[in-house]
Symmetry: C2
Subunit: 296 residues, 2 copies
Amino acid sequence: MTKMMRLKKDVKEKRELVNIVIDRFLPRKDEYPKVIHKAIRHTLFAGGKRVRPYLTITTYQLFGHMDKKILPLAAALELLHTYTLIHDDLPDLDDDTKRRGKKASHIEFGEDIALLSGDALLLEAFKMMLMVDTEPNFKAELIKEFAEVSGSEGLIGGQVADIKCENKDVTPQEVEYIHLNKTAKMITTSVRYGAMLANARKDDIERVTEYGKCIGLMFQIVDDILDIEGDPHKLGKKTGTDIRSGKATYPKIYGMKKSKEKVNELKTKAKEIIGYYGPKAEYLQKICEYITTRRF
Amino acid sequence: MTKMMRLKKDVKEKRELVNIVIDRFLPRKDEYPKVIHKAIRHTLFAGGKRVRPYLTITTYQLFGHMDKKILPLAAALELLHTYTLIHDDLPDLDDDTKRRGKKASHIEFGEDIALLSGDALLLEAFKMMLMVDTEPNFKAELIKEFAEVSGSEGLIGGQVADIKCENKDVTPQEVEYIHLNKTAKMITTSVRYGAMLANARKDDIERVTEYGKCIGLMFQIVDDILDIEGDPHKLGKKTGTDIRSGKATYPKIYGMKKSKEKVNELKTKAKEIIGYYGPKAEYLQKICEYITTRRF
């Protein structure tokens, strides 16, 4: 098996584990009122690579832990991520009709239920965080980071800046702010969580934080590139939406060539940082290829 | 001073305390990206009686505590409540244009920012919960209740049932479910929190829980009545919206006369339950009058 094949097998295995944890945790889809519980599961199980949980679990394992204690923490990140997708797709925001290859939530269930199912998922994410089996003070610290990276000074801040920069001449600083907050912070937290729950040393946590920032930024730039060059069938969502809505993307500011160079630069840096751990970090190195070559 | 005057003074004093705590806690309104931080404050400080925090603080005091430890817990309930108002007013749900006498968030800031400011407020509510100065295991218990009463098996469940019962023949059980989940659970938690943080005995917590259910149901029935008989100027929002959208309200199922009888019955029961504590519970008795006579 090549390294990439091994990685893909590992991604698949961990995805299945995370899906089981989420499935068992959420209210059954026939629970009253049924439609909200169906809606919560619709976008969650429409597909999804589970990149964030993968990073959390794999970083946890990097520091020598193989147990399942990490799973609720990893799964909570996916619940949080999926709530943002449901709200993003609403006509209030991006007005997208497809997500993960299926109908967007508001197309399937209506805008009212989609909005509420996003809210409900966010609450489920916090409930899942409370399930993490660790010392209560430490759990509070994890939950605090969870709320901070997703709030108005994190992910939501990034989304707002994104909206406000539409059809405007934006500065590199603004694009940086958007990418960092909208995507990179949550990816960074995903790897940080793995190290933190593994009780990693402070310098190790700092190292994976740097690695997380690199792949987080890389992830968003790749997303921007895919919106121009990607195949909508493979992506499971429409492309060209950034251009149509005049979004402040990397290719818009720097051009396609420079954007791809930036991806490569970040990839090299990320691999170098995590390369510190040698062969143990094989998956976290290889995931850089996986992210950058996904569908373009 | 009459009892009602004393109550009103107490309501005002506690409202001001809560407002100060919220104001100090939230990101400043000029923090980048400014519009989201303005939007978060817009609906929060448009007015609002702060009934939930009032109940929390007053129940805490009933059990002999006069310190400020209760304030973040009380304030978190108001943040949570206000997020539901912002999302409720969106065209995806009730499409209301006024709230607390001011423009609804989406009218002032657009639907995109209103949606995101609701999300951000929900996250601020959790951050505020984390600020409660108490033993970490106990704090986790409080946060769990917070997520449960507001999720798809609580408040959101009530909202969804409400939507799904529009323009239908509904059963008394369905109206009961809607009222209990949409409103009464959160009111109940408001009084429970006061008792819990005061370290009240189990039977005391059970007693205030029963009291909370009564005033919670009463609160929603009064809301239903006000939608028919209330003065939109005094309410700070449109009336008649329930009828137009065919909502499953108490007056719709039972008629106005029986609805008012039910309010009186619940009021008597609530006062009786809390009357157990004698003169100490004056405010919690009098608040029943306050809720039922507010503007009709």
